[in-house]
């Protein structure tokens, strides 16, 4: 079986200085939804741009459905739909016209072209505004139009670089429902990057976490969470924050694997049931009064924290990207002199 994406020891060095990819290997099975998670500058966009034949890797190999992305680039281009991180539609024509031009570029036969366009417009809820100039669209509508462009040609694989950036949560949910339906109907593979943890958690079959050009963890969401090896006990404690030497003692006691301090006291233990009474006993004997206790599984956030060392800052970043996109959009209007 050919993998939808097969990457071996991929390295990309920009200008002989910036090591954007530092030996990435990963496989994506056909029909799968694959998420690439990573902090800013991790190399997500670089990987997507190599897979979509825009950039040549410095070393290593990459295949899309068995086709070499360098030597068989033109064949690869017939299989892919791509939504870049930046805005990628013409703003001085209508949404419908954008789709029409793309359909022609891809050589979608005249027969059925109209229908295909109407269909993706409908799927992305753009029918009502299809004849308006794109420069009058909201950021979210533009993103939907871009996804519609990628769907239009019914690609075997879609590469989506932060497809839902700038969309509100309700719109994100709708977009993912439509993408999932599209995938089911046409058996497409989806390869996407995101800054939204929940998105990867909910919609991806497989997740790779990438940091500084290296894949640091890969697997199904459940597996990744499991790989932390344990459960999280969260205790309501009046005396927060705890005294530092008490935290030290707790760490050394062997009762817990990890201590997270926040509003409440959270600890990572391998098995919560036997650990809980011991933990309560320990705290009581130190004069700490404990309120409610809850046991949860680790979340993808915890996984990210462990492998990358920081949490993903999605909010600030989304607004920054939206700002840049707006700037580009306005640039078009002042651009012609």
């Amino acid at each position: 079986m050919d993998f939808a994406v097969h990457v071996v020891d991929l390295v990309k060095v920009y200008d002989g200085r910036v090591r954007a990819l530092d030996g990435v290997s990963l496989d994506v099975r056909p029909g799968e939804t694959f998420a690439l998670l990573g902090p800013n500058g991790a190399g997500k966009t670089t990987l997507i741009r190599i897979l979509t034949t825009q950039l040549k890797p410095t070393a290593g190999e990459a295949y899309v459905f068995g086709l070499d992305v360098v030597r068989e680039a033109s064949k690869v281009r017939r299989l892919i739909g791509y939504v870049p991180q930046e805005m990628s539609v013409w703003t001085d024509i209508s949404g419908y016209e954008n789709l029409l031009i793309y359909a022609k570029i891809f050589g979608v036969p005249r027969l059925g072209r109209e229908k295909a366009i109407e269909e993706v417009l409908e799927v992305m809820d753009l029918t009502r505004v299809k004849d308006e100039l794109v420069k009058n669209y909201s950021g979210g509508m533009i993103r939907k139009l871009e996804i519609a462009c990628a769907m239009l040609v019914r690609p075997k694989i879609m590469f989506l670089d932060e497809p839902t950036i700038g969309l509100d949560p309700a719109a994100r949910k709708i977009v993912w429902e439509r993408l999932t339906a599209f995938k089911e109907e046409y058996g497409a593979t989806i390869f996407f990057t995101t800054h939204y943890m929940d998105e990867a958690d909910l919609y991806a079959d497989e997740i790779a976490i990438i940091n500084k050009g290296k894949v640091v963890a890969c697997g199904k969401s459940e597996e990744l969470k499991h790989s932390l090896g344990g459960e999280i006990i969260t205790l309501e404690v009046k005396e927060m924050p705890l005294k530092p030497d008490l935290v030290q003692e707790l760490r050394r006691s062997g009762l817990v694997k990890e201590v997270f301090e926040g509003e409440n006291l959270s600890v990572l233990v391998s098995d919560a049931e036997p650990a809980l009474p011991n933990l309560m006993g320990f705290l009581k004997s130190r004069g700490v009064s404990v309120g409610r206790a809850s046991i949860t599984k680790p979340t993808l956030d915890d996984v990210f924290l462990k492998y990358v060392g920081t949490r993903l800052e999605e909010r600030g970043r989304a607004s920054e990207v939206t700002r840049v996109r707006d700037m580009i959009r306005r640039g078009e209007r002042d651009g012609h002199l």
Binding site: Y82, W90, Y102, K104, G107, I328, E332, G335, H336
Partner: protein, 256 residues
């Protein structure tokens, strides 16, 4: 089939440009102001001075084709601004992941610019006629003149795509655009016959594509003298092919 695909890619790019023009023509009008001033003011004043020998043709008539070609070339050179914008956004990245070959993207975009340039040149013509410029009354010549302008503008647009793949910002691009067109314009036969130029400029004029374009359009629109037409067309064809090839080769680096 490959050829068919390339041609249809080129036609699609032209269609894109026509659709843009249909939605917004202000740029066409604002860009028409300058050439109209050249013809109406500069042309009329110089005409009354009779300082430049134009072998019997009224001076305003003499420069009208030159000004039309200049404005078309300008429009084409600044077409690269669109390309710069498309690079800053993700459009070019996306275009280069489609089956369209980079040749058809470059040639298509250049030809699309040629279409815009033809409109740009056409818009000046009614004004010239109103102030008394007399055209050769031959529709075939008229059409041919605009085909010449279309083809030549494609070459200038290719220069502009080439420049766009090196210049990363709009401001720098503007500067370079001026620096290319103005010398070509002043060192051409657009405003005065080549015989009037100092020898060194005369030699430059022989390799200045603008001179051939002006010569062809002047013959077709004003004097009716088409004895050099074949030479002019060959020169323009060479210019186009060379520019298309160079621009296509450099195009890939535009998104790196």
């Amino acid at each position: 089939m490959a050829i068919f695909e390339k041609v249809s890619g080129i036609l699609t790019m032209i269609e894109l440009e026509l659709r843009r023009l249909r939605h917004d023509r202000t740029e066409l009008y604002t860009r028409a102001v300058q050439p109209i001033l050249w013809i109406v003011i500069y042309g009329q004043v110089m005409s009354s001075v009779r300082a430049i020998p134009t072998s019997g043709v009224p001076y305003t008539d003499f420069i009208t084709p030159g000004i039309m070609v200049q404005t078309a070339a300008f429009a084409s050179i600044f077409y690269g601004l669109t390309i710069v914008w498309e690079r800053e956004s993700g459009i070019l990245k996306k275009l280069l992941t489609t089956p369209a070959s980079r040749y058809s993207v470059v040639i298509g975009r250049s030809m699309a610019s040629g279409v815009r340039a033809v409109f740009q040149a056409l818009i000046v013509l009614p004004v010239a006629v109103v102030i008394g410029v007399r055209l050769v009354p031959n529709p075939a010549y008229f059409v041919l003149a605009f085909i010449v302008i279309f083809l030549a503008s494609g070459g200038f647009a290719a220069i502009s795509i080439l420049v766009a793949s090196f210049m990363k910002t709009r401001e720098r691009f503007m500067g370079i655009g001026q620096a290319i067109i103005m010398p070509l314009f002043f060192a051409s036969n657009a405003l005065y016959p080549i015989q009037m130029m100092p020898p060194i400029l005369r030699e430059f004029s022989a390799v200045n594509p603008l001179s051939y374009v002006v010569d062809a359009t002047r013959g077709l629109l004003i004097t009716g003298d088409v004895s050099n037409l074949l030479l002019d067309l060959v020169a323009i064809a060479i210019f186009d092919v060379v520019m298309f090839v160079i621009a296509s080769i450099s195009f890939k680096r535009i998104i790196e």
